[in-house]
Chain length 410, copies 4
């Protein structure tokens, strides 16, 4: 029976767990040690540490404290790992806890985090998704059921001191270009809510003041939100500190490419089963800067897609120069509009492309001035036919069910 090397108690606060942390810093003490070749299980909080509940009230999503995220389990020391190595991680399995077979998806208020389409969905909304074996469906989004691609949204090794400094410097420079912006341009260190694991006292305080926030993906991987890092995948992470210091969290039951709603996937607490190995000096041997990985042989195959194009002209008709994010935003908006013709609300359409295993492809990045991006919507996840035909769409939903919204407070 595989060892569970990090256990958590969902009835206690994440802050009461010293095997959990929510900032990146080279000095966070290891909480467990494994050897190359070992496999082991790690339990994880949901990314918010339990701030969101299974109910029909979105006020918890509206009021979430985003300085507290993401709660990560670790760091785990790997014997023999040294800076410059590659840490090979086999993701063997992932699951929700038996007693908590559900997850949540949220749109943050534009006042508090926002999201990819926050100009269109400025207020907080929340949908709850129940897990039924490999499948999930939501009482807030009728007519759709799909198999999950379970994955950790956030995984990587501790940064070195130099890397941490580089992160803080470059992100501060960006932040300073528009410090009043909402949402902000970057999440800077914030000591008050930092959870530095087993660090204590002054050491904790000074580390908390400079610990990198967990929001962005960076060189070490981190919050990549890549759905393809699913069970069965093999990932090669750069190592920057002795022992590597692998941390993981932000488990997702399913997510579309882009994690467009920001809160973002179907978020859940649960466990992850991993196996580690080392490629000594692998960073130089293979010229690795960011993690590389191999996909799983086992992912849901939804092979019939309806594909939406978007170009880098924004919703106001303004022409942008090869901006792939704007192109993808247009593809998202096109897909949502399409779904409304079958009876979905726009919010439900947004939740579907955020939660379901849609794909986002970069199609053209050189044909000035327009980038072209495509959103691949699997048609088999719907209980009814959403393909175009000469007769036009049929409204299958009567609008009686929608996704709960919590208006901003003032």
């Amino acid at each position: 029976m595989t060892d569970t090397i990090i256990k958590i108690d969902l009835n206690k606060s994440a802050y009461e767990h010293d095997n959990v942390h929510n900032r990146w810093h080279p000095d966070i003490p290891m909480v467990a040690t494994v050897k190359p070749g070992d496999d082991f299980i790690v339990e994880c909080f949901d990314w918010t540490g339990g701030q969101i509940e299974n109910n029909d009230d979105a006020s918890d999503v509206r009021d979430v404290d985003l300085t507290k995220v993401h709660f990560l389990s670790g760091p785990i020391a790997v014997e023999g790992a040294e800076p410059g190595d590659l840490l090979e991680v086999d993701i063997l399995d992932i699951g929700a806890f038996a007693e908590q077979q559900w997850g949540f998806n949220g749109f943050f208020s534009k006042q508090n985090g926002g999201g990819f389409l926050d100009n269109h969905f400025p207020e907080a909304q929340k949908s709850i998704w129940d897990f039924n074996g490999i499948y999930t469906k939501s009482r807030h989004v009728p007519g759709v059921e799909f198999a999950g691609i379970l994955h950790p949204g956030l995984i990587g090794c501790l940064p070195s001191r130099d890397m941490l400094d580089m992160w803080n410097t470059r992100e501060k420079e960006l932040f300073d270009t528009d410090p009043e912006r909402t949402p902000q341009l970057a999440c800077l260190p914030y000591a008050e809510t930092a959870h530095m694991g087993r660090m204590k006292g002054d050491e904790r305080n000074s580390a908390a003041a400079e610990g990198a926030r967990t929001v962005p993906p960076r060189e070490h991987g981190g919050n990549c939100d890549i759905k393809d890092l699913t069970r069965g995948a093999k990932v090669y992470f750069p190592v920057y500190v002795d022992g590597a210091g692998l941390s993981v969290g932000d488990l997702h039951f399913s997510q579309g490419d882009g994690e467009i709603t920001f809160c973002g996937a179907i978020e859940m607490a649960g466990w992850i089963h991993m196996r580690v190995n080392l490629i000594k000096d692998g960073m130089a041997k293979y010229q690795i800067k960011n993690p590389i990985f191999k996909p799983s042989p086992m992912v849901p195959k939804y092979d019939d897609y309806l594909i939406f194009e978007g170009i880098s002209v924004d919703e106001n008709g303004k022409q942008h120069y090869l901006d792939t994010s704007i192109a993808y935003r247009q593809a998202c908006l096109n897909a949502i509009k399409y779904l409304t013709q079958f009876g979905y609300s726009e919010a439900q359409g947004y939740a579907i492309i955020g939660c379901a295993p849609i794909q986002g492809h970069i199609s053209g990045v050189v044909d000035i001035p327009n980038s072209c991006a495509t959103l691949w919507l699997p048609t088999d996840i719907f209980e009814f036919d959403i393909q175009p035909n000469a007769n036009g769409p049929v409204k299958h939903l009567d609008g009686s069910v929608d996704i709960p919204k919590a208006p901003d407070l003032k």
Copy 2:
């Protein structure tokens, strides 16, 4: 036997063909008429109209006249098509001409067009790819062979007058923000080299002065360079003028997502076999702004990938805000670096990710400030093993073969 409704003569200039045009304008006369349900074949020049030759000298790529591109076959009238309809196009097959079983891939000089990585590859280079049935390989890029995903880089219907005006307005606005930039921010109308099909005299001249250039993808589709519009796919195009006016060209034997080298795919002359149908009033019924499509049941399956991540910190270490193009550029550079460890030159690595059926995925677009993009490199296209392992990479190529380069003239 299926009718070939547009025939071309490769021994004559594209300008001598009145069933070809290289600008978008609502008044270009139809050159053929088909009925809903018909299938037919259309012959096409390569996008440059034959400017590039099968040899080892890249000066033709360096000196290409980009104001002449792309030469499109059409427009084709579809009986009964009216503005607001959707034109359903089944792409039934695509091929190179029997006597011209090769294509080219080029990097444009940064002085003349550039490309996605033109800061790294500022001078013109050209590789030639031979076609062997469904496979292709290049004498300039040893050790790699793959099955093509043949597709038209450029296809769509004529714009209406209003749409044309909108295009010209918004692109001019962008251009005017930095009119001296090289490469330029947008390709504006340019009458001199415009080929307006069967238009003549003053009518031709005034249309040429405002005809939209074919470079960017736009609402009607156009130069989407989506490799997935391959034989077997079904595409739904918005119709803006009576008769629809379907034009097509820029055939590719293969291309990676993004068409990153700009010249871009494995470019070829050839033919395309299509079938058309109409969904009357389909744009309103389905709320369609850009084309949508369904993928082919028949595409090369390369299911073992090595996946490279990139984030929106550029190669100089500068932090950008959720810029997915920059994130994808980093993933591209990471893949190229990796391939050099097996003996490829950087230029060969660039050509491989431009030509082979790599995928580009949008992975994270909300985790401020970093977008995350991934480049999926199929491992089975290589004659040798490119997977990472504990022993490190083996150099399989000795550097004796590289991609011809033509230095800029001064």
Copy 3:
């Protein structure tokens, strides 16, 4: 949290469980009741009821009592189900018990059950396979690891009285054509070891005397050993008695098409999560005699295969007439021979094609006198390259490890 409607205790004999049975009979009492739309979990013994242990001694496989198999959990009543309906079963998930993360594969002695290649492997052998998340590997078969396609080998509804009689009649007729044969031609009813669930006394005894053995697949499904009935699949079973009476067991972690070793798959105890619905009068509406099903969207994708052909000329050179079983046997023998060139023993080769997700295809059944069958061996499950090349195969194994064998007694 989903209800577990049938629980078992692995520390007690299957015979002590009244929610388990090992014969098919219309009068076996239901042990649980569910409604259409319900989902629920059922726990299952391994098919032998715990006769085989995790050790390196194959004597338990040699001495297994095959009159006791298969232990099935059920029958489960579905409210409203009537003869002639179709019972739609969604297989939502399957797993091994947390405390028993292993399974076994065996070759039976030709004296006691045999198998597809028992002339080549006449004595009992056993390999143990450890589960690591979605993957499995065996200490007895080095160099191979693969993701499982978990499935119930045996599932179906209770037969009606008429169907039971038909089964017994036709199988007895076959048996009587060669009653002394070893292995026997059919497994006839055998009261002594029959477990009739909650039946008691005379009723039990008379039912036990006629209860159909569970070995063959029949009209109701039963022991189909179809690996594709995996989690995510949807199956439509004919209903023959009021309440349907769904029973299930013989869980497999993985299996190749054909279950050629008879004991057969990687056999395990565990649990299965299902959801049921009804299509009233579905057998007549759709003219269904045997179950039909839809595959899962989620199965391991091993897309690079080496494919072995076999024809219906047996290993002694004798020509048979369109005998597809013999053709498949030759394909199996060809694959085993091939694997020995890389260092595997023939027994290891046999275990690999029995356990791994190989495919068996019927290729030609009309080209007299030879059937043609193909065995598809996934190459990516091996740690080394097994593809043919000009240099010839490399022996990767030194023969120091093999599959334990227990010689026949006497």
Copy 4:
């Protein structure tokens, strides 16, 4: 431009072509020579040599002379090939002739060849299939269209003298067990209609008297009718004579596993583009008896299947012992019955499972006494929904179109 090394003239009889033969014999003279590494094109008659026409009269299928088949193009000598080598053949592409974009499927009369279901379809019928790029459909089978998996039904190298003798001996032994049977148990040598290529006079006559018929697949491959030997596949053939002597023919546009209708696939004339290489002494190195192959990266992906089970109890209720052919026949009959509920005639159902890319899987071959086989019917090839649901099937066809039948003359 690739050389076409064997050209044919469809306006002349196959017998007038000396680069064609219809028997296997070691002494048939080579008609072309290639070197390892070469690629080349070979033109082929349809298997009957043009006996079947594109019309609505099945009398040509009824009256076909099956002693004349199959007309093969070759043999082709490969320089340096010796007995014991493996001939590696890359199938690079396959196509129909531009002027003959159609194929035929037939059921032979039980009096003349029969087929897998000849007890159910005893009289000759014929359907014509038109090719539209990668797709095909038939005026005789409405509502179905699919992409072809083009392949040669028949390909292999010349047998040695010893192998030829072995074939003739074992097939004669089988034939002699029931020499009066119709259809016959085996096709023995038949000199009258033998086409021995460039052999002449007495040499031709004595070779014709012993030349093996081309109907069955044998050790060298031959008439395997494996749809997966499609363009993109790589096949390794045993070599038995100096120069190998590769011959090919019986091109198919599409076929279901088993080629159940015997005439059998969608049969066509056309061309095949191949590349050859050698593995010296490969038969011993890899212990190869029958050909092995690797599948193409490029085959139509129809991933949504409805799967029909069959067991080895025949249509009269008789129990057979592990007879996989009977099990597959039941699965075929079950699929045909199912399709009739949507309006197809049984003959149309038979043609669909014979022509479309269905799969036939061997599911269980050890669960005495019943084999279990499955037929995988892709649902996306139908223009309407054929999935089961609570409302029952909808008849989409009115029976006004059926497959032409030619009654036996008697």
